[in-house]
C-alpha cells in the first residue's frame, strides 16, 4: 500500500518557499500527440493503419512497414514492469528537488517498452497498468500503477505531481450559491479536501445552496464577486497563499442570441463573469499560485475552469453565453501557459446542460449537479486536462473533432 502522506502542517514562516521548477519540457510535435491523448485521459498510442504496429516513442513513419498513416488509437493499458531504478541523483533541477524518484521500464502489452514514472506499489516483474499523465510542465508522460489498486493511491508522492487529488488540499470554490457550487463543495469535502473556501457574491440574494454549504465542516465562506476587482483582490490577499486548487465555477446563463435578443447588457454580464471574472481571478490568484507551485507536498497544484461545452461550438439559443464561454476558454489557454511556469496546471471541465433553473428549457439528458461535481473530482484525481462532463459535452467534442462545420450547423437546444 502507498505510504500515507504526512498530515499537512501549518507552514513554518521562517522557512524559505522553494521556487517552482519544471521537468524538462522540450518535446517534438509528434510527442504532443501523447499530450492530446493525456489531456483527454486516454491511453492511446500511434498505431499504423497499414500494418497495425504500435509505435513508441512517437514518430512520423511506421517502424515496421514505413507507412505514414500513424493514427492515435486506444490500446491496452496493461504491461509488465521489466526493470526499475530509484534515482538518487539528477542533473535536472525539478527532480533534484524531489529525489529519490522511482522509474521503470514497462513492456506494454501493446508492444513497445516504455520508460514510466512508477507508483510506489509497482513491483519489478509484476503486471502494471499504464496511463498517459501530464507532468508539471504540461506535457505527457507515461505513468504506471499496480494492475490491481492498492490502498491509499491518492497519497502517492510521485503521482501527486501529475494528478490533483483533492485529499489534504485546500480548495477555493468561487461560487457557492448555485446547485453546482454546493455539489462541488460537497464533492471536494467528500474527497478529503483539507479546507474548502466557498465564495459568494451579492450577499442580499439568499441561497439555500450556500446555507447548506455553510453546514459542511471543511467549508469556510468568503465574500467573492468576480465582477468586482477589489473583491477578488481582497480574497486573494486573504487566502491566495493557501489555495492549492482553484475551481472557477461562476457562470451566468441567459437565453438568447445576437439577432433574436440583441441585448448588450446581458452579453456584458456574461462577459463580466465568464471572461473578465476569469481575468480578475487570474490576475490576483494567479501570481501567488504560480509562485507556490513547489511549496512542498501542499503547494498550488491546479486551476480548474468550469466551462460550457458550447465554448467549443456556439449554440445560437445561448449565443452570447456561448461566445463568452469561448472567450473564457481562449483565456484559459493563456492562463495555462503562464501558470505552467510555476508548475500549476490548468484543467478545463466542459459541461453540457445540468439540472438547474437556468437549463429549464434544455431537453434531457441533463446532468445532476452532484454527478457533474463527482466527475470533475474524478478527472482531477486522474490528472485529466480537458474533462467533458456528460453526454452532451462528450458529443459536442466528438462531433467537433469529426467535422466542425457539421456541429456549427447542427447544434441547438
Amino acid at each position: 500500500m502507498t505510504t500515507k502522506l504526512p498530515p499537512p502542517r501549518p507552514k513554518d514562516p521562517t522557512k524559505r518557499t522553494r521556487l517552482p521548477t519544471r521537468p524538462p519540457g522540450n518535446r517534438s510535435r509528434e510527442a504532443h500527440g501523447l499530450t492530446a491523448m493525456a489531456a483527454a485521459g486516454r491511453f492511446a498510442l500511434q498505431t499504423c493503419a497499414d500494418c497495425g504496429t504500435v509505435q513508441y516513442p512517437p514518430r512520423q513513419v511506421c517502424g515496421n512497414c514505413l507507412g505514414d498513416r500513424l493514427q492515435w488509437r486506444d490500446v491496452s493499458d496493461g504491461g509488465r514492469l521489466l526493470a526499475e531504478t530509484t534515482l538518487a541523483h539528477s542533473n535536472d533541477l525539478f527532480f533534484r528537488d524531489r529525489l529519490p524518484w522511482r522509474l521503470g521500464v514497462v513492456h506494454a502489452d501493446a508492444g513497445p517498452s516504455m520508460v514510466a514514472h512508477l507508483a510506489e506499489d509497482c513491483i519489478a516483474g509484476a503486471r502494471v497498468r499504464l496511463a498517459l499523465s501530464i507532468d508539471r510542465a504540461g506535457n505527457a508522460v507515461v505513468t504506471a500503477r499496480p494492475e490491481h489498486p492498492t490502498p491509499n493511491p491518492e497519497d502517492d508522492r510521485q503521482l501527486r505531481e501529475m494528478t490533483f487529488d483533492p485529499k489534504d488540499r485546500r480548495v477555493l470554490i468561487v461560487d457557492g450559491k448555485t446547485e453546482l457550487g454546493l455539489a462541488l463543495v460537497r464533492a471536494f469535502a467528500g474527497a478529503g479536501a483539507r479546507q474548502v473556501y466557498v465564495g459568494h457574491a451579492q450577499p442580499w440574494r439568499r441561497s439555500p445552496h450556500l446555507d447548506a454549504a455553510r453546514e459542511i465542516d471543511a467549508a469556510t465562506l468568503f465574500p467573492l464577486d468576480v465582477t468586482d476587482t477589489d473583491s477578488v483582490e481582497e480574497l486573494a490577499a486573504t487566502i491566495g497563499d493557501k489555495v492549492e486548487i482553484l475551481v472557477n465555477n461562476a457562470y451566468h446563463l441567459r437565453m438568447g442570441g445576437a439577432v433574436g435578443r440583441m441585448d448588450l447588457n446581458t452579453a456584458h454580464d456574461e462577459m463580466a463573469i465568464h471572461y473578465h471574472g476569469l481575468l480578475r481571478l487570474a490576475g490576483h490568484f494567479g501570481p501567488v499560485m504560480r509562485a507556490r507551485g513547489a511549496d512542498g507536498a501542499h503547494g498550488a497544484a491546479a486551476w480548474v475552469n468550469l466551462l460550457s461545452a458550447y465554448a467549443w461550438a456556439n449554440n445560437p439559443a445561448l449565443g452570447t453565453y456561448s461566445a463568452s464561454q469561448a472567450a473564457a476558454l481562449s483565456l484559459s489557454h493563456c492562463l495555462r501557459a503562464e501558470l505552467a511556469e510555476g508548475g500549476v496546471r490548468v484543467v478545463n471541465a466542459f459541461l453540457g446542460p445540468i439540472e438547474d433553473e437556468w437549463h429549464q428549457l434544455a431537453p434531457p439528458p441533463k446532468l445532476d449537479p452532484a454527478a457533474a461535481a463527482r466527475r470533475i473530482v474524478a478527472g482531477l484525481k486522474a490528472g485529466v486536462e480537458d474533462i467533458p462532463i456528460g453526454a452532451v459535452a462528450e458529443e459536442i467534442l466528438a462531433r467537433r473533432a469529426e467535422n466542425p462545420k457539421e456541429i456549427e450547423r447542427g447544434i441547438g437546444l
Binding site: 450577499p203 442580499w204 440574494r205 439568499r206 476587482t229 477589489d230 447588457n265
Partner: protein, 264 residues
C-alpha cells in the same frame, strides 16, 4: 476688475456658508462596490453595480496620474429619478436628465421623520394622515418642495440589512399610494425622496398599482431622490436641496451629489 458686490443675494448666501450661518449637509452615500442597486428578478434586465478599474496610479500606465474608469447603472447609490424612468412619464416634455429645466434641481425640502415607525416596522408606509399631522405641527408643504421621508434606514451599512430581502422581496419603508397622489394633486411637490434603495416601499411591487411612487410621480413630471442619507441633520422645513443629475442625453436618472443648505 470690479470689487465683489457683497450686497447681492448670492453674496449673502456665500457669506452665510463661509460664516457658518448656513450649513451644507451632504445627503449622499459614498459610491463604492458595496452600494446596493435595486434587486430585480434575475431573468430581467439588470442594473450594473458600481465598479471601478484603475487607469493608472502614478505607474507604468500613467506616471503622473491617478484616475479610474467606473461603471454603474443610472440608478445607483444616491440618485435622481427622472420622469422618463417610468412608462407613465415616457411622453412628457422635459422628462429626461438633459431636458429637465435646471431650476428644478434646487428646491425647498420638507422632512418627515418616520424613524420610529420604520424601526418598528420595516414595511412602514407613510400615509396622508401622518403627513397631515406633520403639517399640523410644521405648516403646509409649500408648492414645489421635495418631501423627504426620514427613516434612518441609511444607517444600515450592511447591504443585506439595507435591502432586507426575503422570499417576498424587499422590506423597506416608503409612501402609500394615496399619499403619492395627494402630494402631487394637493401639494404640487417637486418629488419624493427617501433613504431606501428606491422611492417606493420594498413591497410596492405587490400593491394594487405596483410602484405607485414611480408610477404617479413620474407620470406627473415629478422626480425621485432615493438612497439619501443624513436626513437626520435637516430641519422639518427650511432646507434647500441641490440635486442635479449628470446631463446625460435621454438619461433616466443619474447618481447625484445631493447637498442641502440649512440655516444654522
Amino acid at each position: 476688475m470690479t470689487e465683489t458686490d457683497d450686497t447681492g443675494l448670492l453674496a449673502g448666501l456665500l457669506a452665510g456658508i463661509a460664516g457658518g450661518g448656513i450649513r451644507v449637509v451632504d445627503l449622499t452615500m459614498t459610491l463604492d462596490r458595496h452600494v446596493p442597486t435595486i434587486v430585480l428578478p434575475p431573468e430581467m434586465g439588470q442594473s450594473w453595480p458600481f465598479r471601478m478599474e484603475e487607469i493608472s496610479r502614478y505607474d507604468h500606465r500613467g506616471p503622473a496620474t491617478y484616475w479610474n474608469n467606473f461603471s454603474c447603472g443610472e440608478h445607483t447609490g444616491t440618485h435622481f429619478d427622472a420622469p422618463i424612468h417610468w412608462i407613465s412619464g415616457k411622453d412628457l416634455p422635459g422628462n429626461a436628465t438633459d431636458t429637465i429645466p435646471p431650476a428644478l434641481f434646487v428646491a425647498h425640502a420638507c422632512v418627515v421623520d418616520c424613524s420610529e415607525e420604520a424601526a418598528a416596522d420595516p414595511d412602514y408606509l407613510l400615509t396622508v394622515d401622518r403627513v397631515a399631522a406633520w403639517e399640523a405641527e410644521h405648516g403646509a408643504i409649500p408648492p414645489r418642495s421635495w418631501v423627504l421621508m426620514r427613516t434612518d434606514w441609511s444607517l444600515k451599512s450592511d447591504p443585506v440589512q439595507y435591502l432586507n430581502m426575503d422570499e417576498t422581496g424587499s422590506h423597506t419603508p416608503g409612501p402609500d399610494a394615496d399619499l403619492v397622489a395627494w402630494l402631487i394633486e394637493e401639494r404640487d411637490v417637486v418629488g419624493f425622496g427617501c433613504e431606501a434603495v428606491g422611492t417606493d416601499a420594498g413591497q410596492a411591487q405587490h400593491f394594487a398599482v405596483p410602484f405607485p411612487c414611480h408610477h404617479m410621480m413620474h407620470g406627473n413630471g415629478r422626480f425621485g431622490l432615493p438612497a439619501l442619507t443624513n436626513l437626520d441633520q435637516l430641519p422639518p422645513t427650511g432646507a434647500v436641496v441641490i440635486a442635479a443629475p449628470l446631463k446625460i442625453r435621454r438619461g433616466s436618472g443619474s447618481p447625484v451629489r445631493a447637498l442641502a443648505l440649512v440655516e444654522a
